[in-house]
């Protein structure tokens, strides 16, 4: 009876995952979709705790299980509630890493279950017949889970700025060798089962962690969303390995579903940047970028004073704001909204031009501006915005760089060549707020800054906006 109900729970869980994911890809239904999936997950988890049995034996250790869930739930909720909107991508990466680590730990425990010590204390190991398939799945779960964990932690560190891009000559070769060693050890372990298999098993674990680190290290910060998306689908596959191991259909469906959807999502993200996945993974951004016009001499740029900027903006008919990561870093979304309101009071039309990959993740800017109560109708997508630029008087670029870089249109050697950009040059005047003349996250020079219609306004986005608001009020 119990098991029958459990099966029903798992079926409900699997269906809610599919429906939830479907609803998540539709703006109107997205929030409910998330709740549907969460409800299904709760049913599946409670069902497992109370109804799971193996050989007529129910699960024990309830104290430990509930203790772990309580700790995880409290910490997880607090972390997720407290995190700033700008740090959202890091948070996703962090939680993804947790899932990967969980899968790897399960593999370690199951390996020790599978391999009974012949003589306790020695490294000799005995595997029951027909356990090779199981061993394969365990190792698969271990490798994928550990890579996902280590990679996600590095991605997390990179996004919050505590880890810098780092690559050395021949890194790709080291990666390939590392992967080959892992594969070789796995084949050796499954095929021959040598005496010191525990040692080999833990070596695979350690090497997988290293591989995860080296896999993410050289990838440029601008490509982080793509990497997180890949690692996300990795963890999905690792979870599915667990499903294989326990013949558990809800883990299997959930894991594979995320694995497949995550892979497609990764490809869609790459397409939004007009780059191939291989290019992202192998052509570490910073390294090849210097080839593209990097040697070109820097021209002259001109600066605009705050008061001049205040004047041109308050006497303009239409102002278009182009937000980028700089806005997110400076937490300037509220100041930005204040500026918008002030200008609107003066009869200026203010709109926002949102590039699909502005910020660190697709949709990053939408979420950020929504937090500051910027109305939905004011956010223009790239195509609409490009139509409106010719009739725009002033474009204010706030901490965006690569998404307005004309090199994407006219420099075939540039690493971002072919990426659709916001044609801010079509406007009458372009004011660019940046902290300094340093190239943006992708490490590419931006010709736009040296164009005659462009003026630079240096400083932290939030401070500049606040000062700008002050100046406009004083006019």
């Amino acid at each position: 009876m119990g098991l029958n109900i459990l099966t029903l729970c798992y079926i409900i869980g699997s269906v809610t995952f599919i429906i939830g994911l479907k609803m998540l890809s539709n703006p109107a239904a997205a929030r409910n979709g998330n709740l549907v999936a969460a409800a299904g997950m709760t049913i599946a988890i409670l069902g497992t705790i109370f109804l799971y049995e193996e050989g007529g034996q129910r699960l024990g250790n309830y104290g430990w299980i509930f203790g772990g869930i309580a700790i995880g739930a409290v910490v997880g909720t607090l972390a997720a509630k407290k995190v700033k909107m700008t740090a959202m991508p890091e948070m996703v990466s962090m939680f993804n890493g947790m899932g990967g680590a969980c899968a790897a730990l399960i593999s370690i425990v199951e390996f020790n279950h599978l391999a009974h010590d012949v003589i306790p204390g020695s490294n000799e190991i005995y595997l029951p017949d027909g356990a090779k398939g199981m061993l394969l799945i365990i190792i698969l779960g271990l490798v994928i889970g550990s890579v996902s964990f280590a990679g996600s932690m590095i991605a997390w560190g990179k996004l919050n700025g505590s880890i810098k891009d780092y690559s050395f000559k021949g890194q790709h070769i080291v990666n390939i060798i590392l992967l080959a060693i892992i594969l070789g050890l796995a084949v050796c372990l499954i095929g021959w089962l040598p005496g010191n298999s525990k040692l080999i098993f833990y070596s695979i674990f350690a090497l997988s962690l290293f591989y995860g680190v080296f896999f993410v290290f050289p990838i440029g910060g601008a490509d982080m969303p793509v990497v997180i998306s890949i690692l996300n689908s990795f963890t999905g596959v690792a979870a599915a390995c667990g499903g294989f191991l326990y013949d558990n259909k809800v883990m299997l469906t959930g894991g594979i579903l995320v694995g497949a959807a995550g892979t497609l999502l990764t490809i869609l993200m790459c397409r939004a940047m007009n780059r191939s996945l291989l290019n992202v993974l192998i052509g570490s951004f910073g390294g090849s970028a210097s080839g593209g016009g990097g040697t070109k001499e820097q021209g002259q740029y001109k600066e605009i004073s705050l008061s001049d900027a205040a004047v041109v903006m308050s006497y303009a008919n239409k102002v278009m704001i182009v937000p980028g990561y700089g806005l997110a870093v400076a937490q300037a979304q509220h100041a930005c909204h204040d500026l918008e309101k002030l200008l609107e009071e003066k009869g200026v039309t203010v709109k926002y031009a949102i590039h699909p990959v502005a910020g660190r993740m697709p949709g990053h800017m939408n979420v950020l501006l929504a937090e500051a109560d910027v109305s939905y109708e004011k956010l223009l997508e790239m195509e609409q915005a490009n139509e409106e630029f010719p009739t725009t008087d002033v474009v204010l670029v706030l901490g965006a760089n690569d998404v307005v870089n004309p090199a994407a249109k006219n420099d075939p050697a540039s690493p971002i060549y072919g990426m659709p950009i916001l044609d801010v040059e079509l406007a009458k005047l372009c004011i660019i707020n940046k902290r300094s003349m340093k190239p943006g996250y992708a490490g590419i020079e931006n010709d736009l800054f040296f164009r005659p219609k462009t003026s630079m306004l240096f400083g932290d986005a939030k401070k500049v906006l606040q000062n700008l608001i002050g100046e406009i009020k004083n006019l």
Binding site: I18, L24, L35, M41, V109, F244, L265, A370
Partner: protein, 104 residues
């Protein structure tokens, strides 16, 4: 070769599920607008938290003197819960903003 075929035979159900789920996963998010990429990734991130079920099973099966399994299982339950709960809450927070925007 023979053992490989037997393996396929004895696991055919699972193999069918894997193949079908791959197609479902691709089909289901086929036409997602780019604005929703982040929440969708975050939602999918929460869903692969099902791995917690494996952690619960490991934990529940562990014998009382098997400290390795107890410790690792306990850790796995914590991490898995973090993934599930944190994942869903973060996704909800992201989507909350989308909703607020519509009402204005």
């Amino acid at each position: 070769m023979n053992s490989f075929l037997t393996w396929i035979y004895s696991n055919q159900q699972i193999i069918y599920i894997v193949i079908l789920m791959i197609f479902v996963g691709i089909e289901v998010i086929g036409r997602v607008p780019s604005v929703l990429h982040t929440p969708l990734m975050s939602g999918a991130n929460a869903i692969h938290g099902v791995v917690i079920i494996g952690a619960i099973i490991v934990m529940g099966k562990a014998e009382h003197d098997n400290y390795l399994a107890l410790t690792l299982g306990f850790l796995a339950v914590i991490l898995g819960t973090l993934n599930v709960v944190g994942g869903f809450v973060v996704t909800d927070r992201m989507l909350e903003m989308f909703k607020k925007k519509k009402k204005v």
